[in-house]
């Protein structure tokens, strides 16, 4: 069963690159561009792993993360937090809420693939 990745990121060019490399690594990839759309997807059709940007329109990344990690059904979903605000404060807050991994922009593609692979192998 191919693992499914949901990318929650509002920058289309980053979504395109990430989609390309994740597909190449054997994942099924879909994307949403804002926090509210992410919540709808999570409730309706949850993925196997999520890449979550912190700066999102409508509902911000921290709120989405909190929603996932406090929900009994969703809390086991691995979340890799991606952020341009790489300050220690944000990292610590994300970890407190329950993020499984934290990657700062600009990232290297290899890092993403390694972290995703660690949390959720492509072929499940």
């Amino acid at each position: 069963m191919t693992a499914r990745v949901l990318i929650t990121e509002d920058e289309p060019n980053i979504v395109e690159s990430l989609t390309f490399i994740l597909k190449r690594a054997g994942y099924d990839v879909s994307a949403v561009a804002d926090g509210e759309a992410a919540v709808r997807r999570l409730r309706g059709d949850p993925p196997d792993i999520m890449i979550l940007d912190l700066m999102l329109p409508k509902l911000n990344g921290f709120d989405v993360l909190k929603l996932v990690k406090t929900d009994t059904l969703l809390r086991s979903l691995p979340v890799l937090v991606l952020s341009a605000k790489g300050q220690a404060y944000d990292r610590q807050l994300a970890e407190e809420i329950g993020a499984d991994a934290f990657v700062t922009k600009p990232f290297s593609n290899r890092d993403i693939i390694e972290q995703i692979g660690r949390l959720c192998p492509a072929a499940g």
Binding site: E11, N13, I14, S17, A84, S108
Partner: protein, 523 residues
């Protein structure tokens, strides 16, 4: 405290100029033997004669009467309260000795203190700018996002061999597009930092102008004369002040006056009630500006158009105004001075003030002036032989920031930071519009009469919040019986007073309930 030895200073100066006692005394209209007594400190002189001597010897009167020294001592005393010196336990009382024995070194210390404050302000402002300017946070976020897209796409192009032409093209396009956006952000950041470098202003021009005005004791005789001339020429009289000024500007300077509902924000600052456009020869006054403000703006424009040379000479002659910024500021202050003298003519104003026992509301009505304008004018009534009560003046906003100060020679007003919280100037905020009077006694035993009122700050447009400023006049308690506001107060030497200090840090009253900060010195 060292005594100011006026006589010796006069003698030194006279000798430096190579003038004999006989010659100088002849010019002064006194006998040579009397001059000798003066120079030997066997006679106290003051006022008019001292001024004459100073003029004949070509120096400012405060060189002799010690006013410059007293200011230096006050500045040193304030400096001694700085927290960086707390471990030294500087005794403010020793400032007097230091100032009289080593005046240049003392002055150097004061100058360093000002420069220190200047740097602190600039550093704080720059630091705040870096930490809190939303533009910077946004710019950095954009940059990181653009670079992330570029890096990810670049890695794909570099590491993956099996890209087809379409895919290659796609990722190259991403790099091109993101690089362009990154370039914009980088340029905006460069511009931001360029502005930051050039835009920290010094706070010292305000102080230079302060010193300049204090050195002249807030009185400029030549400007007073010019104002008399202007008033006569404009034909200002009771009931036709504004119209007389408008007509005068039109007839003598071809300047038209226009009333407008708003001022264009790019030409006038947010506090401006009027703006003069020299190219179109037009002064625009705000519709909402109160009448005293409109009159003042018009009078100020006349001063600007007619007294340029006189004011320029006054400023050029002062060694205290070292920077162009200070000179520009002083120029504006002197325009305002002339305007005030035109609208509140010296003789009439002084006579009315004395007759009304300094009833400020009466003076406001009689001259159609604002509370602040009247108070400020009271400070300038220093014409030798025709003086009013000597007043100090302080204007504070509700946060305690002092925006205007004219200290008395022996009672200083703080330059940095706030004063004692007991002072009437702060109490006045609790009862806006009401005159608060206070008989204040300092730890030295000196007693002063404080008179303060919080008034509305005139704002150009409707504002839901009330904005107040508090204005305080100060005079020696001994004069309070000449002031209507002293009526009903027990002014005798045994009278109860409010025990105050200069500011908590410098004050020795240990048991004061309002003490905010430990004193620097352990009394």
């Amino acid at each position: 405290m060292a005594q100011t030895v006026i006589g010796f200073k006069i003698r030194d100066r006279r000798r430096a100029l190579g003038i004999t006692q006989a010659a100088l005394s002849a010019r002064l209209g006194i006998s040579a033997s009397y001059l000798n007594l003066i120079e030997s400190n066997k006679r106290n002189i003051g006022g008019a004669l001292l001024k004459k001597i100073a003029d004949e010897l070509g120096v400012a009167v405060d060189l002799f009467d010690g006013a410059a020294e007293r200011r230096l001592v006050n500045d040193l005393a304030e400096l001694s309260g700085e927290s960086i010196f707390s471990a030294l336990q500087l005794a403010p009382a020793a400032a007097g000795d230091f100032a009289s024995q080593h005046p240049q070194w003392a002055q150097a210390l004061v100058m360093l203190h000002r420069a220190y404050h200047d740097r602190n302000e600039a550093v704080t402002a720059l630091s705040d700018r870096l930490n809190q300017d939303p533009f910077l946070g946004d710019a950095i976020h954009s940059m990181l996002t653009n670079v992330a897209a570029i890096r990810s796409a670049s890695e794909i192009l570099e590491n993956i061999d099996e890209l087809d032409a379409a895919e290659q093209h796609r990722f190259l396009a991403i790099i091109a597009a993101e690089s362009a956006r990154l370039a914009d952000v980088a340029q905006a950041l460069a511009a931001f930092f360029d502005r930051a470098r050039s835009s920290t202003r010094s706070v010292t021009p305000i102080e230079e102008v302060d010193d300049f005005i204090q050195e002249k004791e807030s009185h400029f005789p030549q400007l007073e004369q010019a104002a008399v001339g202007i008033r006569a020429a404009t034909g200002i009289g009771p009931g036709h002040v504004e119209s007389a000024l408008i007509d005068y500007l039109r007839q003598h300077h071809a300047v038209e006056t226009r009333i407008a509902p708003l001022l264009a924000p790019d030409v006038a600052g947010p506090h401006a009630h009027g703006h003069y456009d020299p190219e179109r020869r037009q002064i625009v006054l705000l519709e909402t500006a109160p009448a005293p403000t409109r009159r003042f703006e018009l009078a100020r424009l006349v001063a600007r158009l007619e007294c340029g040379e006189l004011i320029g000479a006054e400023i050029a002659a002062s060694p205290l105004l070292g920077t162009p910024a200070a000179r520009r500021r002083a120029e504006r202050a002197l325009h305002a001075y002339v305007a005030s003298a035109v609208l509140l003519p010296y003789d009439d104003f002084l006579d009315a003030a004395v007759a009304a026992r300094y009833d400020i509301d009466y003076l406001c009505h009689k001259f159609g002036a604002s509370f602040e304008q009247v108070c400020h004018r009271l400070v300038t009534l220093k014409q030798p032989g025709r003086e009013g009560i000597r007043f100090g003046f302080m204007r504070s906003d509700p946060a305690g920031y002092v925006t205007k100060r004219f200290p008395l020679p022996y009672m200083s007003l703080p330059r940095y930071g706030n004063a004692c919280p007991l002072w009437a100037v702060y109490q006045a905020f609790q009862t806006p519009g009401v005159m608060v009077r206070q008989l204040a006694e300092f730890p030295t035993g000196d007693r002063y009469f404080f008179l303060a009122r919080a008034v509305d700050k005139p704002l150009p447009a409707f504002s839901a919040a009330k904005h107040l400023i508090s204005i305080m006049l100060v005079c020696e308690a001994i004069h309070a019986d000449q002031i209507v506001y002293g009526d009903g107060l027990d002014l005798s030497s045994a009278a109860p007073t409010t025990p105050v200090g200069p500011t908590c840090r410098l004050c020795v009253r240990r048991n004061c309930a309002l003490r905010e900060e430990d004193p620097i010195i352990n009394a």
